[in-house]
Structures are given as C-alpha cells and as structure tokens.
C-alpha cells in the first residue's frame, strides 16, 4: 500500500529519489479515496514549484483537489500520458500514474517528508 522507499506528504503525495531527481505522484490511499480520476492539470516543464505549495489540480468524478509539491525545484518532465489516460492514477499510482519529475533545489527538504511508517500512521485510522 505504501512502499518503504518512498517519502510522503500529509496531503497524500509521494516522492521517490531517482539519480538526484525526485519523481512525484499521489498515494494509493488518495487515489482510492478520489475514485475515478477524470482530469489532471500539471505544470509545464521548466516551471518551478515550491514545497507544500500547489503545483496542479486533480479532478475525479467525486471531487476536485489541489496537488502539493513534496519538495521545491524545477519541473524536468511531466507525465503527458495522463492527459489522455487519467485513469492510470487509479490503476498504478506509484508507477505509470506518476505526475512530475523534479530537479530539487533544496536537498534538506527531503528529510522533512514523512516516512512510509509515519504516513501509514497518519492515514491509519482511515485506511
């Protein structure tokens, strides 16, 4: 449900380190709660995001929610597949449903994210 190698935010995003970059998506818990995702608005490559500020919007048949950046940095790549296939977020939130690849600007921010254990505790009662 919550891979151990990832870090998490209390807004239900995950972050994964990949060769000095950070890949970002939303957790299985968030994807299940949203139910069928129908639209995702992502920033443009080259734009900058700030830790715990919104970087986009996710819309499901049930709700519209903001997406929060786990760390600050520059957007290197966004998952363009999501424009045509937003359901990938429901099907594979930690894989094909990823959203951003960031070039982080402050390496210390990673340490402030939640561990899998801490995130599990956060959502524990609901999960």
């Amino acid at each position: 449900m919550f891979p151990e190698d990832l870090r998490y935010t209390k807004e239900h995003e995950w972050a994964r380190r990949e060769d000095g970059r950070i890949r970002v998506g939303i957790t299985r818990f968030a994807a299940d709660r949203l139910s069928d995702v129908v639209f995702i608005e992502l920033p443009r490559p080259g734009s900058t995001v700030t830790q715990m500020q919104t970087f986009g919007v996710i819309e499901s048949v049930k709700a519209v929610s903001d997406l929060y950046a786990p760390v600050s940095g520059t957007v290197v790549e966004v998952n363009t597949q999501l424009a045509e296939r937003p359901e990938l977020v429901n099907q594979d939130p930690y894989g094909a449903g990823w959203m951003l690849l960031l070039d982080p600007s402050d390496p210390t921010e990673w340490e402030r994210l939640l561990s899998a254990e801490e995130y599990r505790r956060l959502v524990g009662e609901e999960a």
Binding site: F39, R44, V64
Partner: protein
C-alpha cells in the same frame, strides 16, 4: 396605533383568513407582532404618497411616458455601435416566449429541465457553427463581459499576465475589460489602431513573453474588417492567444468564421441574433473556444449524453470548473447564463439557417455601402478610414456630429454615434450603421436630411 385593514385586489387574504392565522399563533392582533419595536422608531402615519391611480389611469400615464422614447420602431435608426436593429422573425419570440421556457429561467434543478437543456445545447451547437469554434458555453451577461472573461481565460491558459487590447475594439468593451481584470493583476496595454484597423506589424512590435492574448474585434468598432489570420499568426508566433470579439455576429453569415482563421477564443454580443434592443439590456454574452481549452472556459456548459436505458438526454457538464464546485479556484465567478436570450438566438439562427443569415448579412453590406457612397458625396463629408466595411462606417463631418444628430432627431431619424467622447482625435467622426431593416427611401431621406442640416449650419 393599529391601522385599519384595507382589502387589496392583489392580496388574496380575507379578514377571516387573518383572524384564523392570528388565533393559530396565539396573538390578538397584527399590531401585537410589532410590540418589540419601540414606538419611537416606528412610522405611525401613512406614507406621503399621491393617491393611487386606477389601473386605467396608470396605464395611460405609463403609455404617455413610454411615448416620449425615441425608439427604433418609430424613428429610423442609423445607430449601431454595439446594439443592432435587425429584423426579428415572429417565430423567434413566439417560441422563446412560451411559458415553459420563460418560467424555466436558468437550470438549477438541471436534469429535470430537459427541454431547457436541449435548447441551450442547440444554442451552443449553432454558435459553434457560426464562429467556427468547437465548444461554446451556455452564454454570459453581454459582449463586454464575455470579452473580459476571454482575457481571463487566456491568462489561465498561457499562465501569462499581459493583454494587448486593440483600440479598434468597442470602447465600452475595453473599459469593462480593464475594470474586470485589474483586480486579477492583468496588465492591459492599448494596441493603437492604424487607419481604423489593427496591423499584424503593430502586434508583433508590442508582443512580449508575458503577453497572454491579443484582443481584437472583427468586424471592428469602426466597421472595418481585421486581418484575423495574420493577427492570429503574429500572436501564436509569440505564444499568445488571439481573442476575437464581435459586436454583431450576423457578419459571420457572410465572413469566414474566426475559428477558421486561427482565433483561439471568440467572445461577443449575441443581441443581434433575434434579441430586441431592450434599452441596452438584457443582452447575450457569447463565448466559444477550442475543445482543448474547455476546462479553462468560464460559465455553464450543457452536454449531450444517454441515460441508463440508452435514451438521449442532456446534462450540465464539466461543472468542476465552476464556482459551486471549485470555489475560489473556479474559472470564473459567472454561475448563471442568459437562458432566454440564448434561446431567442438559437431560434433565430435555426429559423434563418446559414443561407438566410448570409442573405441578411449581404443586405446589410449592400445598404451600408449605398449609404456610405451617397453620404461621402456630400460636400465636406468623407470616410475616416477607407477600406472594406461591413454594416458600419466612420464619416468625417464638416460640423460636429452632435449637431447633425439633433437635426436628424427633429426629422424622426436616429443618427450615428459621435466618436469624440471615445476618441479625442476623431471629434468630427460619426459612426453610422445600416442594417437590412433600412429601406432605400430611408437612406435617401437620411442623406437629404444630412445635406440640409450641413447647409443650414454653413450659412
């Protein structure tokens, strides 16, 4: 001090009804209901009003008041500038005025109102066909606010904050756009017209990396046709969008639709499509765009779908753009539409069809050009901006146009719009409009009257 109960013909309660209601809630008189309000702040006498007239007297008085209006039914109208005196086929308001539509207003219990939703869906579809765009919303307040909404939409789409606004756009649209966008932090820069049109070179010179949209009007405020395709190319080359405003969409019965020329958003005024002049409102804000931009579109949107049994039906769709779902992050604060006006526009477009609309537009052009030629032949009169025009044109006059209008009004004619108040360098500029409603005899009457007034003034 209890006042006597006077029966009123529009208040159906009887004395017995009132007594029963008072008994039910346990008070002795209506006056007891006001016991908590100190006597010192109560008005304990009748209002000082003239005695109420009878229904017949009231109607006579109102008719006399209305009779003082110089309306387009009794005066020959050569005034346009954003409100257009077109012929409205009887079928338009015969259908739009049906009680089922009039009382339906805007769809709050949306899916219960399939007829209303279908009518709106058809309006949207017809508007797409007319503008050459892929998606149109259910309508907004008027042409000016729709143009302002288009500017905000362009900001959201491009994530840039600059708007280049041609001075050949209706001056009131420009004012509304500035009022609307200033609190949102948009920077609006005037793009000066050259000889009555917006030039692609001026657009290229003024564009920068912060320009979200170039806003032009086509046909523009002076009646001139803009080079929409070249303007779109110039805007797109710098990553900006082209917003085409339109004050009279009847023109698109004849002209190529802006969507086919590269416009990204078409915004404008739908009054000329089957709506009366209405003393300036209610009017009909139109907004159409490309499908790729639909999630940034303001306003309501009706979509077609099928129900659980596979029958065709209509729904309000993509509502997550809207204020009641997305709150402060909504695409717009507009959460209603001009349903009845949109319906009239839909019936008008359907009744005329592409062929009929083209005939109307052609008649406008022919009559306007006849008037233009005859007026320009008068001594001292000329075209301010030579070049192709639709049904409006600007004359330069040898005397202030306000004086011409006074003389014309005395002769039962509504003259054009003096441009001085809007364009200080055009203080002898006079914007005239000739729709298909004007007869040759009326145009001749205008020309003779203008000649007479100018001659009197010259003496």
């Amino acid at each position: 001090m209890a006042r006597a109960w006077v029966p009123h013909r529009y208040l159906p309660l009887t004395e017995a009804d009132r007594a029963q209601m008072l008994a039910t809630i346990g008070v002795a008189s209506v006056e007891d209901l006001f016991a908590d309000i100190p006597a010192s702040v109560r008005l304990l006498r009748d209002l000082r009003l003239p005695p109420a007239p009878s229904d017949a007297e009231l109607l006579a008085e109102l008719r006399a008041l209305a009779g003082q209006n110089a309306d387009a039914d009794r005066y020959v109208c050569f005034l346009g500038a954003g409100a257009y005196d077109h012929f409205i086929p009887s079928v338009v308001w015969h259908l739009a005025g049906r009680a089922e539509f009039v009382t339906a207003y805007t769809p709050y219990q949306a899916e219960l109102m399939q007829g209303e939703l279908q009518a709106t869906y058809e309006y949207q579809s017809l508007l797409c066909a007319l503008t050459g765009m892929e998606v149109a919303n259910a309508s907004m307040y008027d042409g000016a606010s729709a143009t302002a909404e288009a500017a905000v939409m362009a900001r959201d789409l491009t994530r840039r904050g600059g708007i280049l606004l041609s001075t050949a756009v209706h001056p009131e649209y420009r004012q509304v756009l500035r009022t609307y966008t200033a609190p949102l932090g948009l920077t609006v820069t005037d793009l000066p017209h050259e000889g009555g049109v917006t030039t692609p070179q001026a657009v290229r010179d003024a564009l920068d990396g912060e320009t979200a949209a170039v806003v032009v009007q086509h046909p523009n405020f002076f009646g001139r046709l803009e080079e929409v395709q070249a303007l779109a190319e110039a805007a797109h080359a710098a990553g900006a969008l082209l917003v085409v405003a339109v004050a009279d969409p009847v023109a698109y019965g004849l002209l190529q639709p802006p969507g086919a020329l590269g416009a990204d958003i078409v915004a404008g005024e739908g009054q000329p499509l089957g709506n009366h002049l209405n003393f300036g409102g209610p009017y009909l804000g139109m907004l159409a765009t490309r499908e790729a931009f639909v999630r940034r579109m303001p306003g309501r949107l009706v979509g077609a779908t099928v129900d659980a049994r596979g029958r065709r039906g209509f729904v309000l769709t993509l509502q997550t753009r809207e204020q009641h779902i997305r709150r402060e992050r909504a695409t717009s604060n507009i959460c209603t539409n001009e349903a009845l006006n949109a319906l009239a526009a839909a019936v008008y477009m359907a009744a005329l069809g592409p062929h009929g609309l083209r005939q109307v537009a052609e008649a406008c052009v022919r009559k306007a050009h006849y008037a233009r030629e005859r007026l320009c032949a008068l001594p001292g009169f000329g075209l301010a901006f030579p070049g192709p025009t639709f049904h409006e044109f600007v004359l330069t006059c040898p005397l202030p146009p306000e004086r011409l209008n006074e003389g014309l009004q005395a002769r039962g004619i509504l003259g054009g719009l003096p441009l001085g108040p809007f364009y200080p360098d055009l203080d002898h500029g006079w914007l005239l409009c000739v729709t298909e409603m004007r007869t040759r005899a009326e145009i001749d009457r205008l020309v003779e009257a203008v000649a007479e007034i100018a001659e009197e003034a010259g003496r």
